[in-house]
Symmetry: C2
Subunit: 161 residues, 2 copies
């Protein structure tokens, strides 16, 4: 990626310097690498892996999974169905609302999850290898604020259209 000039001209735009593009580019690179790895090693798709990770933290309904992860409810539904089908996920009756279920990992699911986590952490570690602790903290902070900011902008954009 090249240097952005100090003074921005407002009639041109270098795609390489355009934040949304760079974010997407970087994210896609990582996502693809991860998707391939998980598919090859564990037969899991990204939504399935994400669902497992969330439910492993704390059992929750599909709606909660969607809200936390930004996944579409259709995506969550299919991921859950696939995991239940493989015996990795259980739906526990929710007596407060019988439309939904509490999702949690089965023992098999926990076992698989336990095998995945070190791989995931290792991958993250490799990606972050060139970053010292301060930089990692900065990245954490910047990304968090960016997500917040993006969510805010997104709302405004929607209302303008």
């Amino acid at each position: 990626m090249t240097e952005r000039p100090e003074t921005l001209r407002s009639d041109r735009l270098r795609l390489d310097d355009f934040l949304p593009y760079r974010l997407s580019y970087t994210s896609n690179l990582l996502s693809t690498a991860i998707a391939d790895t998980y598919q090859a090693m564990f037969g899991l798709k990204i939504p399935e892996w994400r669902l497992m990770a969330l439910v492993a933290e704390a059992p929750m309904t599909q709606l909660q999974v969607g809200a936390r992860s930004g996944m579409d409810k259709v995506t969550v539904s299919r991921a859950a169905a696939a995991l239940v089908g493989r015996g990795l996920l259980a739906r526990a009756r929710n007596d407060e609302d019988r439309r939904s279920h509490h999702l949690k990992l089965t023992p098999d699911g926990e076992a698989l999850y336990a095998r995945i986590v070190p791989k995931a952490l290792d991958l993250e570690k490799r990606v972050l290898a060139g970053f010292d602790a301060a930089e990692q903290a900065q990245l954490d902070d910047l990304l968090a604020r960016l997500a917040e900011s993006a969510a805010r902008v997104m709302l405004r954009v929607e209302s303008e259209t």
Copy 2:
């Protein structure tokens, strides 16, 4: 997003703290916002907009577009076809290699591009509103290094599978 404890436990993983996930989450948020805006305002899909932005910088072949942007050649092909169909893009004969063409914007394409750029820069500005110059520079730097690192890790991952 929550605080990551100083000492990492290696058997658990909070999805909210997992870098690839956060990157993807943030990127998707922005991408969706942008995709909706461009589609509504200019009838452009993201690949079409990216192609325009690249070609506006300097005419190039489809292959070069793909190499620079990470877009699949199929995606580039379809984006180019759509833009040519709308009279926004021209394919100029490439005498050195008649399999490929030099792509450049038509006057109409330039005109549309000129209308898009301020919108894009404005959007970026809004997203980065809460970040001072130093933080923006940091973000630039961190993302660039992250992309590089991700590309490296991706290569290793592929060879391991």
